[in-house]
Symmetry: C2
Subunit: 255 residues, 2 copies
């Protein structure tokens, strides 16, 4: 399993992706799942990919317009995209080409064709946009009402996004929500793991405003986790009891 989340705000985009891959609980390693495609001052695209690792790597090479040896080849080059919709479509086409190439052999070995992408960025003066591309190559865009998308192990980290993420969130708040969502997910699913790659892309800058591989003991993560835990505990302590429940003798919660 993997977990990646991307958030779209009026100020730009935020991505977070874990790095654990596993083929069984005793076969675990760390691979980057967040990839960037950059043409300074003009285009910046980020893609978080979950699913079968060989397909993810082949897809990244394909989107970079490289063959298996890193040399240029004919075909898609994501930085040729004229708009983010175009980039999502190219990604879908690359996935379909991969399926045509590898799907049959995988299927004969009982391996499902599993690759899903969150792709977002800004191309020229178009506003930053965010898409999810499915294994069939079709895609959706994140709407204003729910300006985030998740792939992989979505459930544990969803409530915090529902509660805190809006189109009007600051980039910093979106980074915090993404990191706390990742932290809750990693805590609960051993097949999602640190380090996590976290990227913030401010609008109209076409370069990262923040791009870091976060380890679980990172000072920012540690402080965020502690202050969030303290704040949430203080909050639930301060909320009212249900009517009719006799309040027990005053007690304070331990930290």
């Amino acid at each position: 399993m993997s977990y990646a989340v991307a958030i779209r705000t009026a100020d730009g985009l935020v991505f977070a992706a874990d790095s654990r891959t596993n083929a069984g609980p005793d076969h675990v390693s760390s691979f980057r799942k967040l990839h960037v495609f950059e043409k300074p001052g003009e285009k910046f695209i980020a893609a978080a990919i979950v699913g079968n690792l060989s397909l993810a790597q082949a897809l990244v090479a394909e989107l970079r317009g490289q063959d298996g040896r890193g040399r240029p080849k004919k075909g898609v080059d994501l930085l040729e995209a004229a708009s983010m919709t175009d980039a999502a479509r190219m990604t879908g086409q690359a996935i379909r080409a991969l399926e045509a190439q590898d799907g049959g052999a995988l299927s004969r070995h009982g391996v499902s064709f599993d690759v899903t992408v969150l792709i977002g960025g800004q191309i020229g003066k178009e506003r930053p946009r965010l898409f999810q591309v499915y294994p069939a190559g079709n895609f959706i865009e994140a709407p204003d009402e729910t300006p985030y998308l998740q792939i992989g192990e979505r459930k544990y980290g969803k409530a915090i996004l529902d509660q805190t993420v809006m189109l009007d969130s600051t980039l910093g708040a979106a980074v915090r929500a993404a990191v706390l969502s990742m932290d809750a997910t990693i805590l609960n699913n051993a097949t999602v793991g640190w380090p996590a790659d976290v990227l913030a892309l401010p609008r109209d800058q076409w370069r990262p405003g923040y791009f870091k591989r976060l380890e679980p003991g990172d000072a920012f993560v540690t402080e965020l986790r502690r202050r969030w835990a303290d704040g949430v505990r203080d909050l639930i302590t301060a909320l009212p009891d249900p009517p009719g429940l006799a309040r027990p003798a005053a007690r304070t919660l331990p930290r």
Copy 2:
């Protein structure tokens, strides 16, 4: 799907269970999943049951020592339990008897033998205890380190429990955590639904300190949901930005 959670605190136990049953998205109804067994001043046991509805109903009748027509019959009677471990064991035995009776026919129709129980309560002067009984009739007890158990659609509502529930929580705080965990789950899974039955069992009282069927528009739920949402949003706004991320011009989050 269903969702039920039970929390054990030093002050007593809290249970919450949704009421939705569905055999497909166009075949939805409401049934009570939280059942109580009471001998005033001596014993109080609560059981939340998820899984196949016919098995849940048969199990309740069995644990009440009734036959199909509500008449007494020989066999288990949960209120005969001498301890909560005994009650968990009796529940497991009743599940095994049900499987012996119905499992074969269900299997022939492609229906899995699916019934899981959270059972907790206080018997005499023994401290309140909480168990989960599996479809195989085996069971576990909630430990001090993680003093809650969840069955059914567990994932969406787990982070809030991890953050707020401790053995030292007040009963009121445990009710709030259970209701907010239920709210997050119902928001995200259409097969879990209101109303929710919520019970608090204070220690050494052998009767409910709070027992209510909560509708989504209930005044307590509404206020809790609003104040929680506001508090969490204020909290994430107040936390620090990651180092290096330029803070955008000051903005306030809309409510």
